[in-house]
Each structure stands twice: as C-alpha cells, then as structure tokens.
Symmetry: C2
Subunit: 459 residues, 2 copies
Amino acid sequence: MLQDLHGFFYPRTVALIGATDKRDKPGTAILENLAHFHGAVYPVNPKHETLLGHRCYPSIMDVPEDIDLAIIALPAALVEQEIDAIHRKSIKRVILISSGFAEAGAKGMEMQKRIADKTEHYGIRVIGPNALGVYNTDNGLDSFFVSRERVSRPVPGRLSIISQSGAITVILMEALSRDGIGLAKAVNYGNRLDVDEADALDYLADDPQTGAVAMYMESVGNGRKFLKAAKAFCEKKPLVIWKAGKHEMGAAAVASHTATLAGTYGLYQAAFRQAGAIEAFGFDHMIDAAKAVALMEYPCIRGRLLIVTNGGGMAVAASDQAQLEGFTMPGMPEAVRARLQQAFPSFFVTSNPIDVTGSGRNEDYYTALTEALPHYDAAVVIVLMGSTTVTEEAAELIARACHEAKKPVTCCILQGLGYTREAMSALLKLGIPVYPSPERAVRALAALRKATCRSAGSE
Amino acid sequence: MLQDLHGFFYPRTVALIGATDKRDKPGTAILENLAHFHGAVYPVNPKHETLLGHRCYPSIMDVPEDIDLAIIALPAALVEQEIDAIHRKSIKRVILISSGFAEAGAKGMEMQKRIADKTEHYGIRVIGPNALGVYNTDNGLDSFFVSRERVSRPVPGRLSIISQSGAITVILMEALSRDGIGLAKAVNYGNRLDVDEADALDYLADDPQTGAVAMYMESVGNGRKFLKAAKAFCEKKPLVIWKAGKHEMGAAAVASHTATLAGTYGLYQAAFRQAGAIEAFGFDHMIDAAKAVALMEYPCIRGRLLIVTNGGGMAVAASDQAQLEGFTMPGMPEAVRARLQQAFPSFFVTSNPIDVTGSGRNEDYYTALTEALPHYDAAVVIVLMGSTTVTEEAAELIARACHEAKKPVTCCILQGLGYTREAMSALLKLGIPVYPSPERAVRALAALRKATCRSAGSE
C-alpha cells in the first residue's frame, strides 16, 4: 500500500495523456508545470509532434520508456479506453484529472464505476477523477492544472495537504505562499475512485519531509479505515482537519460537489477527537492552525499563558479568546514584576498582560519576554506597528526570547500595508507564526497545544 | 450637548499645548498631522519660537486668537495647571492626549478626578485623557499621535469609529486603509473623563457624513445613557459593537488597561439586542461587519441565500456558515435552472449553490447572477482567482448583476498575491464588500441582514 502511493509522489518517468498547447486547457497547464519535475516527461497526443520542446507521442503505447505514472487529462468519455492502453503498457499508477464522472450525474457515475472495476482488475492504483492530483516540492512533480502565474507554489517546507476539494487545495497553497509557509506535499483526490484520505495519511505518516498535515474533507471513503489511519498518523505528527458539509445546507452542497454523502457531523467530530486530530472550523482556522503546527519548534504542554502587547485593547481581546480556548493567565510573579518595574518606565503595565504601551521599544519586548516567559508555558505577543518606537527588528528580538526560553509564541501583527507585512515576514522566517488578529493568534496557539497534548499523551 | 461635540470635530482654531519637534513625542506627530487641518493651528511650547513653520507661543494665554479646541499633549503632572490657563483663555473644548491618569494607578486616578472637577466647574468639555482624540476626514482635523507613515489614514467615506482603545482605533483605521473602505470620523475617548460613547453616538447619529458606526468598548460610562443613545442611533443608522473584556480573563485585562470595570457580559448583550445593534465577536468580525454595513446599498430583508462559486469546496463551507447564520438556501426554480442549463456547459452545477467550476468565465458569473438573483434575497459570490478563465474584469460583471437585481452581494476572494488583491480592490471600488474566506463573506452578509431588519422594523 505505502509502496503504491510512493510511486505517485516519486515516479522516475511521467506520461501526460492529453498534453496540449491550447490556452486554458488542463493539459497545457500540467505540461508547463511538469517542466519543474526532476524526472522524464512524455507528452501524449496524436495531434502534435512536439509540445513545449518535448517530443510528443501519438499514443501511450508509442512511448519508448517504462512509465511509472500516467496523468490523464482527457475528456471523461475517452478515459475508459485509455485505461486499457495503460494496462497494456504495464503502467500501475494513474492520476485521473478529468471531471465529468460521479460528480456530473448518473451517466458519469456509471463511467466511474466501470473504470474502478477495470483498474481494480488490472491492479492499477488511481488518484481522482475530478482531481488536481499530486504536488511534491521534493522533486518538483506537479500535476495541478493551475498555472504558476495564477497560483504561486509555496516554498519547500514541513506542511502537507490532503484535500477532497481542488479549490480548497489551491487556496490553501496560495495562502501558504502568501505567508511564506513551506509545503512538503499536496494531494487532491477528488472523486476518490481508489486512493482515499486514509491512504494519503498512511503514506505521509512515514514521509520524512512531512512534519504535519492539513486535511480538508467533505466525506470519508471508509470510516473505520480512516479512523485507524488518523489515529496512527496522530501518534507521529499533528493533523489539522477541516470537515465541511457539517450542517444540512452544507451537506446538500456536498452532494452536488463531490457526489458523496456528508454523513453525520457528530460522528466525524467523535472520530477526530478519538484520533487526536485538531479540528478546524473553517478556512481561516485551518490555515492558522496548520501554520502553528508546521512552524513551531516547542511544545505547549500546559496552558499558562503570558500576553505581551503595546496596545491594551488588543490584550483584552486576546484575554477573552484565551479563556474560550482553555488557557489560564496567572498573574506576574512578584520577583519578576519587581524586575520589570525596574527596567520599564512607570506607566508600563507589569501584570499579565504586560503592556509596554505606545512608547514600548523593540528591546522592551525582549525584556518582557526574557523575564516573564520562563514562568509561563506559552506567549501571545501583540505588536501594533503603528507605534513609531517599534520597527521590523522587533521580530528578531521576539524570536530570540522565544528560542532562549524554548517556549512556543504566536504573534499578532495586523497585516496592513507595506512594512507591517515586512515585520510579519521577518517573524515567519524566524519560525514565529503571525496572525492578523489577537483572537486568531490565541486560537492558533490553542491548536498547537492540542497537537502537543496528543504527542505528549502518546509517549 | 450636540453642539458641544460639534466643536470637537469642527473647530475653526486649534491650539496644540505641548507641541514639539522631538522624535517619537506625541506633540511632534500631532503637529505634523494638523498640517492637514483646514483651519488655523497654534502650537504652544515655551522652548520654541517656531515649529514646523508655525509661530510657536510660550503659553496658551499668548495665542492672539480665540481658540475653539485645545489639544493637550503634556506630561500628566503638568495638565492640571494648564486647565486653569485654558479657562482663563475661555476655551471650552479640550482633547487630553496625556496618559498617566486613572489607568496608571491611585495617584493618576486622583489627578484625573481633580481635573474632572475643575473642567466641570469651568464648563469645559473634555475628550480623554489617555486618548488619541479625534480624526475627521471632512476637514482634515487629526489629533492622533501616530504618524501617517506608520498608520495610513483611510480615504473619506461613510463609516465612523467610536473606540475606548487607541490601539483598536489605529488598527481599525489601518484595516480600512488596506481594504480601501472610506472613513467619516473617528473618536478615541480613552479614560472617559467627560465625553463618553453615548455622547459620541448622539453626535454621529445626526452627522450627515456618517452612514454607519463601528464601536469598540470595554466598559460603559453610564448604562442607561448608553442604551438610550444606542437605541436612538440604531433607528437611523447601523451600529456594529465589539465589546471586549467579556470573560473573566478579559475583564481582568480591562482593569489594567482602561481602569474600568468590564461588567457582566450578559447585560451588555441584552442592551445591544434591545438597541438593535450588531454585535461583533472579535476584530475580524468587527471589520467585516463594518465593511458590509458601510458599503452595501441594498437591504437584506429576508434570508433566502444564493451562492455562486467556481470551486465546490468553497460553496460547501459557505453553505455550512449560511446555516449557522440563519439563512435558508432554497433550490433553483425549475425555469431558471432550465435557462442556466441552456447557457452553460453540461458539467456546470445549476442547483443552489451554482458551481461554474474551474472552467467558469467572467460572463458565466454574470449569467448565473442575472438569472438567479432576482429569485433570492442576497448572494455570496466566491471567485477563485487561480482559474485561468476568470480575470479582474469579473468584478465589474458581478457588481453590475448585483446592481441590476438591487440585491446585496458579498464576495469571497482569497487575499493572496498580486492580482487577487487587484480583483478585490476592483470589487470594493464598485461597492461590493470582499472577504478572504467563505465563512467571513457569509457572516458579513448576516450582519447586513441584522442592520436591515432593524431599520425595516423601525419604519
């Protein structure tokens, strides 16, 4: 099983059936994206002799090499006969991009069923149909039919994505790119003719590049198989899951989207809890939690939270959220408070939250964290960049204090204009996840805590 | 009362006591910002003869003109005696920027009390202390001690801000600037020595530039007075309120921030409901709801929601949220469905949500909305810009369909890189609020509905 999936992510040779150069065609975008693949690419299309500098073959049978992975980007009606050719060519792995199957009504459902029977009979593993397929930063493999100008690819990193929806896959990748969060692998399995979310979890649990997974699902292929895979995965790495189609109206939308039954939300929640996964309750929450578990080096075993701010209102908002997330906020130990009072002007607030006010400088953040953080389990640091006394260099001092105390820290910087974005990038580069609101910074830290509790519990 | 506040927003002459040119001093930033004021500015500081091209006066008594508004940016200890001078000069309005009063402990509290007694005795109205004061896009008045390089000022527009916290005021303004949402007036009243949130609401209810208010509060000055003002305001205009310090930990943070009692959250919620205000549950929600009520031209009386998307997963997420917000999603009327099926390729989904898939073009959005929107009360339109078949011009077609049907529409475009931000700006310029996640687009539409229900109910 694991070997099967390895071939999807690490083929040596790839054939693209339905390669073309027509504008807006999937076969064009995929061929362009395969230019980044560190392996051999063989376009197949009887209408072309060459494509993008590759020799193009009339049929898959004409390709002179053994093919590890075939990507099919043909109209749905042409797929079934292509499967026979693929079998004759002894290809064992297919990414089926084409839509127009189960999601398109009864006729498509029948076609999908016939292909499923055929590939099972031939022993061919399939990702898709109605899917983007696979993206692997480790070897540049990219079967996504979205151009890099339209959807920029994240830098290599520790987070992997498993998604039932192509759209969600793409916007997650775009959000990661925007925030500079690194990606390991992404797989969008679409109609789940064969390879499902559990297979992907099993594979990524052992993938050395993957440090955490963000998963989007509308339905589950096989409940028992999924629970087993999720449990095993969470023993090793954090898993953030966003289940959509939770409520009646969402479930109705699922039916027309991935042609599956969304199922009873309560059962999913029970399974996520049992597995030890972190449930995300929407898109922002998903990306926020994934960022935290992918970036943070330090565990957050207990919940004694420190808040440091240069704007009191933001600390109030963070404190409200901290309570909702189950953190506690013990007061400042007297000895620490005395040292802070000595170091700071009298109008700084030296309780918890620490408020260095609009006069707080970069080094005041460092002082606050260095003195106080050892007495807490984690911190949320809020930096209002509108103050003239803080600069982008605050990032380095905040990260240094966090690393010296070996405690997890999330930051809140409003992602506004120009240099606020630079300050955000600087922190992210130093491994500190940054969020655009105090509530989201706290919520992300809470996700990290759930991830840590799980791995702590399993030791 | 109203006349009193009018003088804070529309003085003809302003004196800045504590004007200076030292880096990082409030008196420097304020004087720079007053350069944008369409009125006369008189800096006061015995140590300077001129400042920023203005003649500078040794004391307020030396200023040769009548002064409508004095802005005091002196250390707390010097303020009390200055009030006497202000009285001798017959000035009736003071913005007290200085911090170090009630928020800084018992001694500051006493000073604040003495100043309150004195100004009440003299009949001087005060905004502050520990406050940014007033920003008015109508005449350029700007008492905020944050430079325009650090916090850019929003363009003139319909939304006004009332905030107890300076930090929240500043990040709201920055978020509005970032998103291109126009601001009318902003007031941060800080320690609320005199002018409070109710006074501000009363004034802005009759301010012709203000179309809606976003309010941040940690505590209320006078409960009965506030409820009366909020009720009267909501009869005329939408009011979005974010109450922080809701829970025990947040309330503790309030005590050290604005030196007030946060009070029982349940009582606040009851008051908001009674007044007809829209409660925002955090920073993102506040800015999202404010954007919707400030921008949208059309009411959302009933809750029959249409969703149009080019990515199925996003529609599922939006549908989940729609249910939580109390919308309904009636199916597509058969006649409309037939017309959509005729206009669209067979693989587009013509139920509700309408899914034009990754192949959907700009004009398909227009077709979908033109055919279906007349049969619904509002729409959420999701545009994944990663598709090569949609461009920034989709904005114009979506806005046109919305205006033709005279129905409110919110959009979801992930605020990623480059041209996704351009598409977002294009929509905002056409009056369509745009949000970076499907959940937030739905939630903002729900805020609009609450605002509409209220004004519909009051007719």
